[in-house]
């Protein structure tokens, strides 16, 4: 199936053409391009890999996960992720001040984009709000495209799909100061450099525009956190093996939750990137969902 609306904004992410295929068969074995090794490292779950490898490793994971991504989200969270996404949208209220231009990053399967458009349409009768869905992985965008085909937004200017790296959005396509809302849901922890992602978000947002991030985070209560850890490390990789025939990608997923910055740290990074945030507490710069299993961080570009 041809993705006529997909634009390949970042050729660099596709430079290791064989790597995702090989990595799918040999998960976790990083194959960095030796001539460009910077010596910097990034976390890939509990492993430390050369920074240059993380993009292709993540791409490999999502090539495997794409066809069953939504099913697995439902299985792993028992459907709760839908509540979190709904809360994310109702917090942001896209369209309440008129039609807006949104960019939804790491939004491959269009879960957030469709919610944004539906909210604008149902709450405010808005048919002009647009969402540009950006993802580093073409397979995920393909799944999002298939989903959008079944909605009224298909073949309209309201939704479009772009392959690009959140850390290096091509400036010719994603110009400075052009978006009212930047969303990233459950994709931040897969990014190699958070400051780079936040920097790009800051660049492309208009002054006064909103940055919003929905992500799995750290549970506040230590007892519940231990229980949650045990359950997620036991159950999620097994669900991956049973439902998706892919234990490794889901093992990586649970590990990546643990290595991600906690709420206060992420709020600090958002502030450092030039966003105005609320206070350093739950209900201020961030809002915990379900005791901290998930969390919404917001900031406004000054």
């Amino acid at each position: 199936m041809m993705l006529s609306q997909v634009s390949h904004g970042a050729k660099r992410t596709n430079r290791q053409l064989l790597a995702p295929i090989l990595l799918r068969k040999n998960h976790g074995q990083a194959t960095p391009n030796n001539s460009q090794l910077s010596g910097r490292t990034a976390s890939f779950g509990f492993r430390t890999v050369p920074e240059e490898s993380k993009v292709s490793l993540v791409n490999g994971v999502f090539d495997s996960m794409a066809p069953t991504y939504d099913l697995m989200n439902d299985a792993i969270s028992l459907g709760v992720h839908r509540l979190w996404r709904n809360t994310f949208i109702s917090t942001l209220k896209p369209g309440h001040k008129g039609p807006i231009r949104c960019i939804d990053v790491a939004g491959g399967t269009a879960n957030i984009a469709l919610r944004i458009l539906d909210h604008a349409r149902k709450e405010y009768g808005d048919r002009e709000t647009t969402v540009e869905i950006v993802d580093i992985n073409a397979q995920m965008l393909r799944e999002g495209f298939k989903k959008c085909e079944k909605t009224i937004y298909h073949n309209t200017p309201q939704v479009s799909f772009h392959v690009a790296n959140a850390q290096e959005l091509p400036p010719s396509q994603f110009k400075d100061n052009s978006y009212d809302l930047y969303t990233i849901a459950f994709g931040t922890r897969y990014c190699t450099s958070l400051p780079a992602v936040l920097g790009e978000a800051h660049r492309v947002l208009k002054p006064g525009g909103t940055f919003a991030c929905l992500e799995l985070s750290t549970m506040r209560n230590p007892l519940l956190r231990t229980l949650y850890d045990r359950c997620s490390f036991s159950v999620i990789p097994l669900l991956g093996a049973i439902l998706a025939r892919d234990r490794d990608s889901y093992q990586y997923m649970v590990e990546s939750i643990r290595t991600f910055p906690c709420q206060a740290e992420l709020a600090g990074m958002i502030k450092d990137a030039g966003f105005a945030t609320g206070g350093d507490h739950n209900g201020g710069a961030w809002r915990d969902l379900w005791g901290g299993i998930a969390c919404i961080h917001t900031g406004v570009k000054e």
């Binding site: 799918r24 068969k25 040999n26 998960h27 976790g28 074995q29 779950g45 509990f46 492993r47 750290t218 956190r225 850890d229 045990r230 490390f233 036991s234 159950v235 097994l238 669900l239 093996a241 049973i242 439902l243 025939r245 892919d246 234990r247 490794d248 093992q251 990586y252 590990e255 643990r258 290595t259 910055p261 906690c262 206060a264 740290e265």
Partner: protein, 269 residues
Amino acid sequence: MIGTVGATACVRFSGNVVFNRTLIPTSRKFRSSSLLHRSSAYPGHIPLNPFENAFLTVGSSLMAFMDPKRGDMVAALGETTGGLTLPKLRDTMLDSPEGRRILKNRPRISSKTLDFGRLKALPDGTFGREYTRWLEVCKVTPDSREPVHYVDDPELAYVMQRYRETHDFYHALFGLRVSVLPELALKAFEFANLGFPMTALALGASFKLKKAQSDRFWHEFLPWGIRCGGSARCLMTVYWEERWDQEVRDIKQELGVWDPPAGLSIYSP
């Protein structure tokens, strides 16, 4: 398969876990827990605690029932439920000279370890020739077997792997095709001969058979499997790789087995 690398990917956990950027010493909290630090006993090994084992048993049996083509789930079910059977089989092998040689040499069966040219050149009626004939007719290769992941003891993991790899030899011995009915008949035979609970669970798939097939299965093939498998020598003690030149009918006589009723074999019309 991906699982082979999975164990090494999750083993690499040393030093401290970082929560909220505060270092929590691993020694006190996680040393005895298998969930974050899984030490593997062999390549591809994924240790499971009792809860995970039970979870995988339920999940894999549901999945295998819904989609029997999920060979990895059938394999997983066999491993999670084989806990009591594997030691018994290993001990049976230790009691026989051939079985002891198998455990010592740990032969593997794959297209790399078998010399198909030599086997095809053997006379008709020999085990080697009939095995290659069966592979050709059924269009299978010896390489499609899932590696063992969930058995903790390396020797028992080998016994499980050996069972999985010799399953095709049992097919070839009776000339059984690879469709549902012959597979179920063989599962009944294996249950009686080897004792794996999973082989009995597999009989649950018989509910998907059409009426005519189901009748034949329950009245003819299942009784054959139970009687023949129950009275025969334990097939895990057979060193098949030493018997390529042997006549199939002589092997059957030696092991105390006989052919199933007509309708399952590649030799019948």
